[in-house]
Every structure is written in C-alpha cells, then in structure tokens.
Amino acid sequence: MINKTIKDADEAVKDISNNAVLMIGGFGLSGIPENSITALLKKDISGLTCISNNAGVDDFGIGLMLKKRMVKKMISSYVGENKEFERQLLSGELEVELIPQGSLAERVRAGGAGIPAFFTPAGVGTEVAEGKEVREFHGKLYLMERWLRADFSLVKAWKGDTAGNLIFKGTARNFNPMMAAAGTITIAEVEELVEAGSLDPNQIHTPGIYVQRIYQGKDYEKRIEQKTISQ
C-alpha cells in the first residue's frame, strides 16, 4: 500500500504556481473541493486555467478565485450563476471556452483514459463546431473533440482511504472521478479519511491509482444554490 496522505489543504496546493492548468470538480456548488479552493485563495498566484463545469457563484467556490483575478482562462459548460464571471467575460478580461457539458465530461474522461480525440454529435452545425473536423458516420454528422488534461486536479469525495481510494455521495460525484484520472497530480479532499483496508473494495468509485495526495477536509459549508422544498 502506498500512503498518499498529506497534512492539510495548504500542503496539498503548495506547489501550484502561476499559469498552472487546473481541473476543479463539482457541479454547481455540489461536490466542489472547498478546502483546496480556500487554500489556493491564500496563495499569490495568477494566470491559472481552470477546467470546471461551472464557475461557482460570486462569493463562493471558483467565483472567489475570479474575484481575486487568479484565473486567466475558464473552460466550462455553464456559468450562469456568476455575475463577476459574466462581467469579466463581456469586458474581455477573462478568456472563456464554453463547451457542451457532455463533451466536457468526455474530454476529461478521454484525458484520463489516454484517448487523444473522439467524435460526438453535440455542437454539429453550431459555433462550437468552428475549426473542428466534422465527419459522417452511419449517415450522421459528428465533430472531433480533443482530450483535456491538467497539471493538477482538485477533487472532493465523501470518503477516502490512505491509499487514495474514493467514494462519492449523491450527485456530488459529477465530474470528480474523471478529473481525478486526468490530472498529473490529483489532490483529493474527503469528508472522512480512513485507513486503507477500511473501505469495501466493491464500493470504490475512484481507485487510488489516480490520486497522488489525499487529506481530511474540514468545515464543509456545502452551500445550497436553490433551496427547494415540498410542503
């Protein structure tokens, strides 16, 4: 067993420097690596490229990194909840690549799986297809999308063990497993860190081979964007 445990978030992100390419897990604010983002905010770095489905909200998640002008480029599928993002984008301060959510998920998956490109129907005939190779298979048009890889992947899981094996909960899984595989260095924070051997191997979602650093997170806020209840 290889022990991947590190002390805390600050140690986890200590070698992330200017112009790094990061993948950040989560869908909306669900399943985002809160502790790693907080640790990044303490660092004086900029020029980051962030690959993440969303860009947080103005005062939480990646939104805070945008506010601090740490991010040069975002690669996302939906950024509708963040006014600062929209302002920086429309004013040209922030470079943005918007891509269909399924293509984003598959590009990240392909990066981790060693597949440099693939064909998908999403975006054919739209501006997403501009500059991309389009081919016909079985009478239907598909466009070529390339893999995405990152210097660091910041992911969050529910439980993890010292060998880096991860288990997610609910819809907080989302992009986290693929991003774990697509990062050169993957930093996993977990709500509950246990000794290797304590988790049932049948239940592991992300095998520890993809995780280089793991630590016990703390003080999870798990902010809810749209609280909806039934009476």
Binding site: F27, G28, L29, S30, G31, N53, S76, S77, Y78, V79, G80, E81, E86, L89, L90, V96, L98, I99, P100, Q101, G102, S103, L104, A105, E106, V108, R109, T120, P121, A122, G123, V124, G125, T126, E127, V128, W158, F168, K169, G170, T171, A172, R173, N174, F175, N176, P177, M178, H205, K222, R223, I224, E225, Q226, K227, T228, I229, S230
Partner: protein, 219 residues
Amino acid sequence: MLDKNQIAKRIAKEVKNGQYINLGIGIPTLVANYIPNDLEVVLQSENGLLGIGPFPKEDDIDPDLINAGKQTITMTKGSALFSSAESFAMIRGGHVHLTILGAMEVSENGDIANWKIPGKMVKGMGGAMDLVASAENIIVAMQHCSKDGKSKLLKTCSLPITGIKCVKKVVTDLAVLKILPEGGFKLLERAPGISVEEIRSKTEGRLVVEGEVPEMDIQ
C-alpha cells in the same frame, strides 16, 4: 393563453409509460408535477441521477442531492447515481427517450437556439447541445412571443443555435405545433379561446393549418 403550469400540464400528456426522460430548467421542470401517477417513468438529471423524486421536506434537505437546475431534490425508489461522463454516455447513446427543454427561438426546420445572446447574455449551453444532438424525441416548452412581442417561431433562428433539425414538437402559451419533416410548423392544437388567426399573426415561420384545429385539453 396558457400560464407556465398549463404549458407543463399539456406537455405531460406527451409522456408515455416506461420512458426515461430528461427535463430542462424552467417550465420543463414543472412537467414532473403533472405526469399521471399510473405511468411509470424515470427522470434523468444530467448531473448524475436516474430517478428524480419530489422536492424534499425541510428536514430531509441534502446538499449532495441536487438536480441540473441546482435545486434540492429527493430520489425515487430504484434510483441510480453516476458520474457526468456516464450521464452523457446514456444521453449520447440514445438511451433517454424524451427530452423536454426551453428555448429562445425555434425555426421551422427544427433548429433550436437557447444558449447565447451575443454581447448580452453568456451563460453557456450546459448539457443542451448534447441532449438535442442525441435524443430521439425533443419537445420545446416556451412562450410563443418574446416579452417585446416578437415571434419566437421563426423561418431561421437569429440567435446562435444549440442544435440543428432536432425539435419535434413545440408547446407554447398559444398552441401545440409539430415540426414537419419537410419544414414548417403544423398547428395541432390551440390554447382555449385563441384563434388560428392570432397564432398565424404571431408565427413568423411557415404555419401549416389543415382542417379544424381543436382546442387543447389541459384538464
């Protein structure tokens, strides 16, 4: 003229037993409230869930359980959770039978625009481009006209499009329309009290009217 809930109610009548369905944000989400209890269907949430249940009671709220609109939800019996890659594999692979989504514009050949207003609104396409490129049946829920009275059913979309030749049916506050394979909006039903003439005047694309057009049943 139908309100949002009545549009949702009308669309719910398109749902068939045994379908796996993806509901978009806005009016489409409301459709879930009107699916008859005797139908067994499974709602897919592209952030990684098959089996969306009702909104939770206050005490049951779980921040790790949301739908694609970031609303707190519950799971039905027999639910399954998965990653975003798996989620879009089932969408792209054609396993989701019905997709219901909102739009800013629909053209008479079935193109849809719903993700961008250049220079004004840049929210992103989310999962819409993947959904419209792959679902076998796509129904659009929207208002017939924009707030400033312009028709949203057009000859060609003026906004950047989300997908080409993919919409099968449109349900608006005024009408139910089918997109014909050769192009054109075939008027199937009128909202109660709305005349064919009014629908014609508010439809910029080619409107096809054959015989008597019945009023919708939204009971």
